[in-house]
Each structure stands twice: as structure tokens, then as C-alpha cells.
Symmetry: C3
Subunit: 290 residues, 3 copies
């Protein structure tokens, strides 16, 4: 008998207008009534494996140890594997399709120690059609893991290095400019870039942002509420990345930015002209911790 | 003392932007702290008894035994009865308005064995107005059932055969064509028809679909991802019904189809002409189980 | 060791499309696995402290005793205090920003008996940026309270009378007319006014409603379903306030009314003319209790 788990963290693109999420949770509850399901989000855009992968990676260090169920699965019913991946260091098992969705979170959880394909039909629900693996394959696997069924019981072993990797976009330098990508636009319109605060140290304040056919300036700010009305700020967000933000206002809405867009950051022209008299503001100085 | 219940499965048209759902769950928690509430969905369109009834029927076989609370209640505060219906075979009690919402799920749970109207005010919350029966009548009834209060304590007995029946639309044959109805459009734009796979056996592939003023062709496919880009597929969905689908794309969006619409399926003309050379594809051959 | 709590009631403007809510709940579960979180709503409009305050006040008397976590926090990371406020009479502790959000609910819970600012960093999560106090400050405070950590441990004492008060708008009389305000438009389009049924007793039926540049008449009704099709009703809602409503239809949609709008109620002209022959309908007669 393997370890039992008490917590299932659940993320999907199912939305909550249909009963998909409720049915998955009902299957888990029927098989493993002691397990508590914590919904991370089900509002991932349909089929958006990348967005889901990033959301899971942002969340993973805060999850209670247990089983992590993630389902964004445009290839459901096809040859893509359904897998359970153990990350022993995190004390968790990640369950979902092998389409890159789990990769970044597993890596942040210390890496995959073992994996199986969920091929053993004794742990599936019988189903008239193959389109709802969340209900018929993933939920029972999660529940049986919670009940102490060993990972190796659920199906054929998979070499962790054959799991599909995640793709985290890197910034690149282009003639002194920093070419970045929008990772995430949150509910409040904050625009998270794949930019580490250290990468901004070479630029004075304000920083020039180019995207689509526009150029805007933004200044470093310690918090959203420190951004002047009508201005754009560059804030070190809760994940330690740079976000373009506005005060009580959607920066993404103003700028027309969405996940996946390219934003190029460079020294602002007016700043460059005045370089001799501008005292550069280092981000560590403007960054506060609450 | 009757049986105690541990699980409440909860479906409504309350949405989650208001605090309705949270208040209902708070009332249940205050009275029966041991009960776990599993939300099926609260995204049913306002007043859509039919859509809610179908969602509940799709989910019911997967629910953990316990109390099922369903509230879509345009007649709240009027003469419609508030009821609790025991389906002994399913080990569950269904609680909600007697407006047809519960009927199909109760039938799938083996049929009603006993029922009461929730008329005993000792089990109601005092309320200044009659508009929130979910909070004031249904939630306390659910919680007291979980605590082991007998069904018969909650109010006057109701003859199960007097409960309002549900209406499940049937297909009909019209000169060799199959006149079907859209039961459900899910988040992904899959269009579920009230069509059993066996009803398609008489048609070769592709099948012609007529609706509104349009005609489209669709081919059987084993899964969503097996549908060619830009084409329409007919997939046996997770409930054993035929769904019109596209690959990583909303079929309903393309076709302008919504729940309640009529779709007529018939032999595609070009297929009929070539009948001698087309090898008919039987659905059982294209249907795969995962 | 102080009292332990079993229930956390949680309201925010986080929405559920991002993983904010799931992460907050994961932090609570990691620290206090025995605590059950009941979501009130996370659909408060971004930054809408007033709307959140009203939702919390509507819900508070129905909450299970425990910790109430409310986060609508446009000033996150600024000088606004993060607080925990004990309302001993309600048996609850309210946790959130000190921006007026908690005030009405605390008052309805018998008033603040003690309060602290959440300044002790031993009870914070380390965080790279100050923008997600829900995760880094509020969630751990809530969880430690659930585990029996004393309120006074969490930070510096705050005089309850220095907490920011809530603002509940009052009606006013203007030459015999009642000038009211829309408190809330719910999912069904019901328009809750800050009007007590007693305030309507001076008017015959129908009542004239003036707002924007329009005048409409509405009649008292015992429930939504008692309102004639196409007409407007004045219903005593589930909170004991007057709501403008329609039958299976959004009154707010028809009238273009939103939270914060002004509606002036007065004797309808045609009614006034016929006063001699109209028998006034007192609200207590038309008001039913379920």
C-alpha cells in the first residue's frame, strides 16, 4: 500500500457553466470520500495548454502536498498519453494529459521521479465515448491514488524523460533592447512579462515599451496603488516577474495586450538624451515587500 | 432516526457573481457541518428548467449517494411545491422545486419511492420575503436530511406520481430523414443531439445536416481530434449520444446552433448518388473506447 | 491557545478565471488542513469595495461561525492596513483590508470587540512582490487563526473605532417623494433599493419610479411570479428590502439600472387623481412569508 493523499488540486479548461467539473469531483468523492478537492481554476481558455501550464507553474509552490489534476486536453481520445507523474520532492503526483501541460509544474516540484501511462482499464470508468477522460480516466486515477493505490498499479511505466516538455519563452537581447513576451493578463488587466527584475537594471526610468505599432513609457512602481492615475507602471509582481500595470484600471485593456504578444523594452528616448542628469533608479530600491 | 448523508450535490441557475450559492452552502454548513457540498454547476441560464434538468440527468449516475439539491425556480414564492423526493435505488434524496427539474434524474436513479412537500415551517429559516427559497427552505431541508431527520418529518406526503414529469424530446422520422433536437451546447461548442448512435446506422458517411436555412455535411469520427481541420464530425460523446463537433474549434459557433434548435439528418445527396461505390461506415466500427 | 475555527467564509473580487482563489485556498489548506473554506462569491467587480461590503452584509447572518476572509483591495501594497477584527457576538473574526469592506458586516455581527493589524511577519509568507496580500498575508493569518493562534499574536493592536467605517446610503424625503439608491442588481436583474417596506406605506399602488430621464410605474407583488408579464413589480426581497422586479425577466436590463443609480419613488399621478376610488393596498397585506 502506497501513501494515501488527502488533497486534490484541480485545474482545467472545463469552465463552470457545464457540469464537467462537478462530475469529475463527484467521481473522486464516490471513490475516495476522504479527499478534499481544491479548485485552482477552471477558467483556462478552451485548449490553452500554454496558459494552463503557466497558471499551474505559478501556483505549484503553494499547493498542499497531494495529487494535482490538470486537464486541458484537445487531443482527448487520440494517441496522446494520459499520465501520472510523481514529483517526490514536492510530495505530489501530477495527473493529466502528456501534452506539456504538467511539465513546468513538475520541474518546479523538483522534477519527475516516476511516471506511468494510465492504461490499466481496471482503474477506468466504463464510458460510451472517449471524449471525457477527466471523468472516465483521470478522476478515478486521482481517487485511487488518494486511496493508496500504488502509482505503478495504474498502468505501464513511462520514462520521465519521454514526457512532453513545457515551453517557457525566454527573453532575448536585440541591439540593447529586451524582447519580451506577455505570459499572462490577469483579471485586473495586469500584464505579466517573462522579465526578471534584474533584466531591467540596465534601463533608466522610464522604460519605453514597444508593441503592435505603439510605443508607451512606463515607470517602476512599488505597488499598483503607487502608479499615478493615467500612467503605466512596471511592478515586481507576486511571482517575482515584471508586470505592466495601471492603478485601479486595466493596463491590458488600454494597451490591447494579450498573452503571447511581444513587448520590446528599451531605454526611453527622452531619458537617453538626459542620461547625464537622470539618476538611474534601481529596481531593488523601488521594490518593497509587505 | 433516518440515514445520515455525507454529500450534497448542488446545481442551480444562481451563477456565482452574487453570493446566493455561498449563502446556501453557509446555511447547510451551519446546520450540518459534517456535510460536504459538491457543486455540479451554477451556470445554468436563468430560469432554464429544461437545460438544468438535462445537466442533472447527465450527471446523476456519477454522483456520490446523498442529497441532490437542484434549484432553478422561476415560480419561487408561488403555488409550485417545494419537494424532497427519495430515489431509494440510487440511495439519494432529490430536493428542489416541483417544476420538472428533478424528474429525469429521479427516473435515472430508479424512480421516486417517496416524496414530501417541504411544508413544515419548523425546518424553514425565518425570512422577510419569499424570494430565496434556496436559503430559507431548500438549504435547511437538505441539512436536516444530512443530520438524519426523516424525510417524512419535513412536510406533507406527496404521491410520487403527482410530481411534474420531465420532458425529454424524442427524434422523429420524416420521409427517411431523422428530425433531431439540440439538447446541449457545451463550453467547447460541441452540439449534443438527442440521437442515439444506432439511429445513424441507416445513413452512409457523410451525413447531411439541415438546420435554419443551411445544409452541412459531417463525417463520423472517433474523437474530436480525429476530425479534419475545417470539417464537421459526428462523435459519440461521453453520454453515448451523437454530438456535432469540430477539432479545437466551436462547432456551435460556426453553425449558429443553440439548445432547442432542430437539426434534420439525412443521407447526403452526393453519397446517395455514389451509393453503389461507397462502402458504408458503421458507427460501431469508428467508435472507440478509451 | 485561543479558540480554533473550522470554517472560513471567503469573498473577493479575484474572479475564478485566474488561479488567485485556488492559491489562497491552497495556502490555507497547507497551514490548517482541517479548515473548510466556503466561497461566498469571487465575482465582485474589480475594486468594488462598496458592492463587496453590501454582499458581505447580506450574507453575514447566515455564515457559519469562524473566520470571514474578504479581499477587495485596490490599495494592496500601500499604506492601507491589513486587519483582523473580532466580532465576539458573532463568534467570528473578519480578515481583510481596512478600507471599509468589513465594516457593515462587523456591525451586523455585533460590532468589533478587538482588532489587530497583520504586521507580524512571522505569520506572512515570503513574497517577491507586494501585490498578492491574499496569498502572502491574509491567507496565512486566516489559517493560523483556524489553528488557534491568538488574534493578538498576529500583529499590533488596533483600536476598533479607528477602523474605516462602511457607508450605507440612506433614503431621503424630497417634497413627499422618496429618493432611493440601487444597492444591488442580481443575476436575475432584480433591482434592490435601500428602501424598507414601511417607507412605501405612504404611497398607494401603483408607485411611480423616476430615474435617468424615465418614469415607470410598478405595483406591489408578493413574489416574482405574481408580477404580470410585461409589468414591473415591487417585491419585498429575501433581505427585507424593496426590489424592482419583473417575472422571468431582467428588470434592470429593461430599465437600464445599475448599482449606485438613484431612483425616486412617488405617488403615481393617475393614482393620485383617482385617490377617492382607489383602495390603498398596504404592503403588509400583499407581503407573504414562506
Amino acid at each position: 500500500m502506497a501513501e494515501r493523499f488527502e488533497t486534490v488540486s484541480f485545474l482545467s479548461d472545463y469552465g463552470t457553466d457545464d457540469e464537467f467539473v462537478g462530475v469529475v469531483k463527484s467521481v473522486i468523492r464516490s471513490i475516495a470520500p476522504h479527499a478534499v478537492v481544491v479548485d485552482l481554476t477552471h477558467g483556462i481558455a478552451p485548449y490553452d495548454v500554454r496558459g494552463a501550464s503557466l497558471a499551474l507553474a505559478r501556483a505549484v509552490q503553494y499547493l498542499a502536498p497531494g495529487v494535482v489534476l490538470a486537464v486541458v486536453d484537445p487531443g482527448v481520445g487520440s494517441e496522446r498519453r494520459a499520465v501520472a507523474v510523481e514529483a517526490a520532492e514536492a510530495g505530489s503526483v501530477f495527473v493529466g494529459p502528456d501534452n506539456g501541460l504538467l511539465a513546468s509544474a513538475v520541474a518546479m516540484g523538483g522534477g519527475a521521479t516516476r511516471a506511468v501511462a494510465l492504461t490499466d482499464e481496471r482503474y477506468h470508468l466504463p464510458a460510451p465515448g472517449p471524449t471525457f477522460a477527466g471523468r472516465d480516466i483521470f478522476a478515478p486515477a486521482v481517487a485511487h491514488l488518494c486511496n493508496g493505490v500504488a502509482l505503478s498499479e495504474l498502468g505501464e511505466p513511462v520514462e520521465p524523460e519521454t514526457l512532453l516538455p513545457g515551453v517557457l519563452p525566454l527573453t532575448r537581447d536585440e541591439a540593447g533592447a529586451l524582447v519580451a513576451e506577455v505570459l499572462w493578463v490577469d483579471r485586473f488587466g495586469n500584464v505579466q512579462l517573462n522579465v526578471d527584475p534584474d533584466e531591467l537594471l540596465v534601463f533608466d526610468d522610464p522604460v519605453s515599451l514597444s508593441f503592435h505599432d505603439r510605443v508607451q513609457q512606463a515607470r517602476r512602481a512599488a505597488s499598483y496603488s503607487a502608479i499615478p492615475a493615467g500612467a503605466l507602471g512596471l511592478v515586481v509582481d507576486a511571482y517575482g516577474l515584471i508586470s505592466i500595470a495601471a492603478n485601479r484600471h486595466s493596463a491590458a485593456g488600454d494597451l490591447g495586450l494579450a498573452a503571447g504578444d511581444t513587448v520590446t523594452l528599451r531605454e526611453a528616448d527622452d531619458n537617453r538624451v538626459d542620461a547625464g542628469v537622470t539618476s538611474p533608479v534601481s529596481l531593488s530600491a523601488t521594490r518593497s515587500r509587505s
